[in-house]
Symmetry: C2
Subunit: 334 residues, 2 copies
């Protein structure tokens, strides 16, 4: 039995197209001492993967031609020569868009909180945790403040926006269409949502009559520029992603310096890697909100590894609602 994986055939320099990627079957190699093999159940589909395909300065090594497309995966240990993991255990790991992943570094997922594995791959996973630590540790919204979240229908944004609401803030989402705006207001119980199509600055002015105290930024580019026009003195802008720029290799100038100075505001990048020693704190808080019904979580699932490129295109265009996953096998805890 082989592993089926996506590799980079050609480096994309703009829109990701199917000819940039090849789906190949490769033999499964025997695992070495300390390694495990994971049979993939869910592949995480994240904007970051598109960034890793670009040969630009970033927080990780770019994917090289011929390499598997890097992503997080959740699955079952199918073979182990590592004493921390037993066959059959559920784990997540940095792997690739492939049906079997070999690694030395996986994290066990205990069956807890009576939630399906897809919850561990979304609201309790790295995307939900990024929202948690970005809001609590960097944005620090106070009750009564106004919080804006871009890509508020996405995996991170939907959790960040609901945290804003749970903390007692006026919470406004930014999404790609009016229809999606209506949907997230209803489903995530936000105060308002606006479309980034049209005059975003005017829409934000109307939706945020007291200005913006915290911005949870997933899109950057023109969205961030529009937010900047409405920030209050002392605003905190949590820079979590820049989806608008991931399909461009160029420099990404932004008109942020003047408003940051004039409003003594703060723009701060957040990477979940800085919180790897505190993940459990976030998991417990998020699970509590899920179980009490305060936090809704959504997964947007495509079935079959062959659909991974399509899934990434969905995420980059903002078509998904909630965490985008590609599913290769049944959820064992569903």
């Amino acid at each position: 039995m082989s592993t089926r994986r996506w590799v980079m055939a050609e480096r994309p320099h703009g829109k990701l197209e199917t000819h940039h990627l090849d789906l190949v079957d490769a033999p499964r190699e025997a695992i070495g001492d300390g390694e495990i093999e994971i049979e993939t159940i869910f592949v995480s589909i994240d904007p970051t993967t598109r960034l890793w395909m670009s040969d630009v300065s970033q927080h990780a090594q770019p994917i090289q031609l011929g390499d598997p497309i890097r992503s997080f995966v959740w699955g079952r240990v199918s073979a182990s020569r590592n004493k921390r993991h037993r066959e059959g255990d559920m784990v997540f790991a940095l792997g690739a868009w492939e049906s079997f992943t070999r690694t030395r570094h996986a994290t066990a997922i205990p069956k807890s909180h009576a939630l399906p594995l897809s919850a561990h791959a979304s609201v309790l996973g790295l995307t939900g945790l990024t929202a948690y630590f970005g809001m609590l540790d960097v944005g620090r919204p106070q009750a009564g403040e106004t919080v804006v979240v871009s890509a508020a229908g996405g995996a991170v944004g939907s959790v960040a926006a609901q945290i804003g609401r749970i903390l007692g803030c006026r919470t406004v989402g930014i999404v790609g269409s009016e229809a999606k705006a209506a949907k997230i207001v209803r489903e995530y119980r936000l105060d308002a949502a606006v479309s980034r199509q049209g005059d975003l600055s005017a829409a934000l002015a109307a939706a945020c009559p007291s200005g913006i105290d915290v911005d949870f930024e997933n899109v950057a580019g023109p969205v961030l520029d529009a937010v900047m026009e409405h920030i209050n003195p002392g605003a905190r802008l949590v820079l979590c992603g820049m989806i608008s720029a991931y399909e461009s290799d160029g420099v990404w100038p932004a008109n942020v310096v003047r408003p940051l100075l004039m409003k003594r505001a703060r723009l701060e990048g957040v990477l979940i890697s800085a919180y790897f020693n505190r993940l459990q704190e976030g998991v417990e808080a998020l699970a509590g909100w899920v179980k009490s019904g305060e936090m809704r979580w959504d997964v947007d699932v495509l079935n079959g590894i062959e659909r991974a490129p399509e899934a990434l295109q969905r995420v980059l265009s903002g078509a998904n609602i909630g965490k985008q996953l590609v599913q290769l096998a049944p959820d064992p805890w569903a």
Copy 2:
């Protein structure tokens, strides 16, 4: 006796030229209830004054045509109908480039620390205090880290750089020429200084072999872009000024978003107005360093109100060393 003042004759949209300003003599009006009149001894010459001349979004109202050129002043109370101030007292206030200023809001300067009034107008004044709170409260450098300060020969930068050295950091200044670099290394006892002429990024790479942990940014524009190429994970960038942009009305894009995200770094504006209730804490700390000899302070003085435009041009071109003042009368405590 009249007051002699500079007013805005024409709004500058680029380099400040003498035809933008008019020197006029105006009658001194009688002060109203609650007001004082201040006979100016020192006029503060700051890059911010050039920003106030522009009709762009900022933290204060732009100066209007015909208005006096706004600035802080230090001087002697020459008349008072305010019970908090007596004739002869030393005060500072937001006034203008003029020989007599009327105001309701002045701050008394007690004769303390056996220092001349020019020290109160520089290292112990708002510029020194901006450096103090920007470094201590926003930058928070830890001993052993690398601190970079732009405009390190200026009023704020020279104090910020010396605080970096006092706190045990490797401290590197950025200035406008090689000659000035050599001078500030010697006089402020910095580890290194580089000129922003030439390849600033390469010069910073050589001067900061362990990368940059804290940047105290007074210049922005290409200087900030070069700094951004060398920041370490978790870097703090204290955005105090953007001298490079004050003579331009346009938007000031910067390539900061990507590095802030990839390095989970923080860019935060600092305005001294946020610290008006804590100024005394800064004055005491700075005075202590001055008296122990750890903190050198410099003033760069031109004599006569007629030289104020020339003094501002000096500051905007980075020709000054230390705090630029225009002096109208003898320093009573010198």
